[in-house]
């Protein structure tokens, strides 16, 4: 990053450049040229649950505007790492970190950081679709309302834009006041993506977003990820290696808390440099 922002230099909602996304990150990135726009940088970053080390000394640069997949067997710490980026791990009292994690140049674990601002910039999509038991409109409007948008017209605009971006608008535009739990699983997940987009984040953290969905809904989500690529920095944790190969530009392979290999997806899947990676992607273990 060119400037060195102070830890609290987050723009409040509404002042940032209008959607879609920040123009700097909305360029169609040539993976090779993107090296200088690092969005998330971990330096010797470790996460502990009590004494157990869940992620150890990870060094990784995640590039702006690209889709980065994190793969690895169950329990390898990939979800833990993802959740540490927007500090969702704070919910677990025993969770501690060491090393440094920079988010848009800001130290995520700086004590002066307002975690709500961080989370506003880092939208998250969870493993199981988790819409609130409210109407579709209220689900999407929840975030903007939280960040101070009061005008009904503005909210309606945000809701429409977010649903359009999440490719859900056509399906729900006639029943925005219906309860979100009445939607199908795939629709619910796209609703959750729309809800995350509604607060105008820079980055989308997706924690196995399709693991609870059927193949049809999964491919809709994957299409959506491709559409969002370029507009948002996307980090997706997935069990499904075909999915990682299909949607991501970069892939990181985590094993037992350590980052084994990180590189362009094509290279990881065709020509991995490490034996472990090869074993995993060819299905010898995991």
């Amino acid at each position: 990053m060119n400037a060195t922002p102070t830890p609290l230099d987050f723009r409040p909602f509404g002042e940032s450049t209008p959607r879609p996304g920040n123009p700097v990150k909305s360029i169609h990135v040539d993976p090779k040229g993107a090296q200088d726009s690092v969005y998330v940088r971990a330096t010797d970053f470790s996460i502990f649950y009590g004494r157990a080390e869940a992620v150890c000394k990870v060094n990784i640069d995640i590039y702006a505007g690209l889709v980065t997949a994190i793969i690895g067997p169950s329990g390898c710490g990939k979800s833990t790492f993802l959740r540490s980026i927007n500090r969702m791990n704070d919910l677990i009292p025993s969770c501690k970190t060491s090393g440094q994690l920079l988010f848009d140049g800001v130290d995520v674990y700086d004590r002066r950081l307002d975690v709500t601002v961080l989370r506003k910039k880092a939208g998250m999509v969870f493993q199981k679709p988790n819409p609130f038991p409210k109407s579709i409109f209220d689900n999407i409007a929840y975030g903007p309302r939280l960040h101070g948008v009061k005008s009904q017209a503005q909210l309606a605009e945000i809701v429409e834009q977010s649903l359009l971006q999440a490719a859900l608008w056509d399906e729900v535009k006639d029943r925005l006041s219906a309860n979100a739990l009445g939607l199908s699983g795939g629709q619910q997940q796209r609703l959750c993506i729309a809800r995350a987009l509604a607060v105008n984040p820079d980055i989308l953290l997706m924690d196995e977003p399709t693991s609870a969905l059927d193949p049809n809904a999964t491919s809709r989500i994957e299409e959506l990820i491709s559409e969002l690529r370029g507009k948002y920095t996307i980090i997706i944790v997935t069990h499904n290696m075909q999915q990682a190969a299909r949607v991501s530009d970069y892939t990181a392979f985590l094993y037992e808390g350590a980052l084994i290999e990180y590189g362009e997806t094509r290279q990881i899947f065709t020509n991995p440099t490490r034996k472990h990676t090869e074993d995993y992607i060819t299905g010898r273990f995991g």
């Binding site: 969870f126 038991p133 739990l181 995350a196």
Partner: protein, 514 residues
């Protein structure tokens, strides 16, 4: 296990379940049906003309012209009774008067007897009340007998005393008859109006009137002459009045009771909206009803915010530790403390330390303490059962902890919290012990509907007055219908509250589920 055995077991399990539910329903019916059957009698009953007169006089309900016509025809039907009584009285009066010359001769004697009779004579005469005259001369009898045993007794003494005895024996029976008639019909026309409301009217309820008529026809007494327990003997009262003017009265009352009292099926809504008269013998239970509503809502008002905040603290903020487990144990213990202890605490703390007046506020606060543990427990459970994913979603969108609780967790926990509130509402409405010292009064003016005027007033309440009317009322036997009416109303209030909350909860749950 063989499939047939498994089927048999399945079937027997389900039949045990069905039987136990049916049993529970049956028990409920056995308890509730008689209460409601008797309680409904306070609202729906055959009211006599006396009842209509009473509520018109005291509460101004009813059509006064129609009632005037009714009263007129009832008077006409009663007139023969009064005439028979009158005729009997004047004949007895004539008998007393016939004794007068003899008594006057006796009064001329210059000894203690003469002076006594002279004094008594002043209280005899047509202006005096007939029954009082009888009493006056009756008291002479033992003295006369004593005097008659002496040596120089005049011959007329024996004649006088036997004459008096003849009069009095029948007159005592007549006095009893008059009392029963008074119970039935109220004061006779022209009689002075008594102070007590209960003496101003005859029987207002037809079933009570029929009991009174039975008393009129039969004298009941216990006969202990035989071996073992006494037996109840019913003697027709008419036997005492054979060949007097009263004799036809019984047949007349039997034939004309309905005309005299004009019973009619009535729905007396005033039972809920009128204030009681003459310590609940007449009138309604409005003060109790409004008092119970005030106390219950007051308790909820104080307990619910505190309870929910405490539950939020326990579930969302408190870190596991000794202090928290201790606090939790305290809450559980509080839930099991007998309610009278809360009542004593309310007296000691709210009245004596805080110097609150005995009234709605102090009572509500005491009840609030009583239901607080239930509300805390239910809210805690409800909040805990909100899926963790809701919390994560809200937090990931940048909501703070408090915003997450207010906008996501509490709405999702609302049905469970409501259940706790409903249970405790029923409890607060029914509790007696906590309000005895802090709010309850047996007789109190109905509370103002403005809480600012009502908060420091002691009040009647259904729970307390049910107890009070059943145990301490001077005529507890006479007002069973009021007692059962109150119980039925209390149960109905609690059931209605429950029903309301169940519907509310179902609607919210439906909204949450989509």
């Amino acid at each position: 296990m063989r499939i047939s055995t498994r089927k048999l077991l399945d079937r027997s399990f389900s039949s045990v379940g069905v039987i136990s539910i049916a049993l529970m329903g049956l028990i409920l019916l056995v308890i509730l049906v008689p209460i409601f059957r008797k309680g409904i009698g306070a609202l729906v009953f055959e009211a006599t003309v006396e009842h209509r007169r009473l509520i018109l006089d005291n509460f101004d309900h009813g059509d006064d012209l129609e009632l005037a016509a009714e009263i007129k025809s009832a008077r006409e039907a009663r007139q023969p009774v009064y005439e028979m009584v009158q005729a009997f009285e004047s004949r007895q009066q004539a008998k007393i008067d016939s004794l007068r010359p003899d008594l006057e001769t006796l009064a001329e004697r210059d000894d203690s007897m003469g002076r006594l009779v002279a004094r008594r004579l002043k209280r005899l005469g047509p202006d005096e009340d007939f029954l009082e005259q009888v009493e006056t001369i009756q008291q002479l009898v033992p003295r006369l007998r004593e005097y008659g045993d002496g040596d120089d007794a005049p011959k007329e003494i024996a004649a006088i005393s036997s004459g008096i005895t003849r009069i009095t024996s029948q007159t005592l029976a007549f006095a009893e008859l008059k009392e029963v008639l008074y119970d039935l019909l109220g004061p006779a026309p022209g009689e002075p109006m008594p102070q007590l409301t209960r003496k101003q009217y005859g029987q207002t309820r037809w079933e009570k009137a029929r009991e009174t008529i039975d008393h009129l026809f039969f004298i009941e007494r216990w006969d202990y002459s035989g071996p073992g327990m006494g037996t109840l003997v019913r003697e027709p009262r008419v036997e005492q009045f054979r060949e007097t003017e009263i004799e036809p009265l019984f047949a007349y009352v039997e034939g004309h009771a309905e005309a005299m009292l004009q019973p009619r099926w009535t729905l007396y809504w005033g039972f809920l909206t009128d204030k009681p008269l003459d310590s609940h013998i007449f009138g309604g239970i409005y003060p109790e009803l409004i008092g119970t509503i005030y106390l219950t809502l007051g308790a909820i008002l104080f307990a619910v915010p505190i309870g929910i905040i405490a539950a939020i603290y326990f579930t969302e903020y408190a870190k596991a530790g000794r202090l928290i487990s201790f606090l939790r144990a305290c809450v559980s213990t509080l839930a099991g403390v007998p309610s009278i202890v809360f009542g004593m605490f309310g007296l000691a703390f709210f009245l004596n330390v805080w110097q609150l007046p005995k009234g709605v506020l102090a009572g509500s606060l005491t009840l609030a303490l009583l239901i607080l543990p239930v509300i805390i427990r239910a809210s805690e459970e409800a909040i805990r059962s909100v899926p963790h994913t809701y919390r994560e979603a809200a937090l990931s969108l940048g909501a703070g902890r408090w915003r997450t609780i207010v906008t996501v967790i509490l709405p999702a926990a609302l049905p469970g919290i409501l259940t706790g509130i409903v249970i405790s509402m029923g409890r607060a409405a029914g509790e007696t012990a906590p309000i005895i010292f802090t709010a309850a009064a047996s007789v109190a003016a109905p509370l103002s509907l403005n809480p600012l005027q009502a908060w420091d007033q002691p009040t009647a309440a259904l729970s307390w007055n049910i107890y009070n009317l059943c145990t301490e009322h001077e005529a507890a036997d006479e007002i069973r219908h009021v007692q059962f009416g109150m119980v039925a109303v209390l149960i109905t209030v609690v059931l209605a509250l429950n029903l309301f909350a169940i519907i509310l909860r179902a609607r919210i749950a439906k909204k949450l589920k989509g």
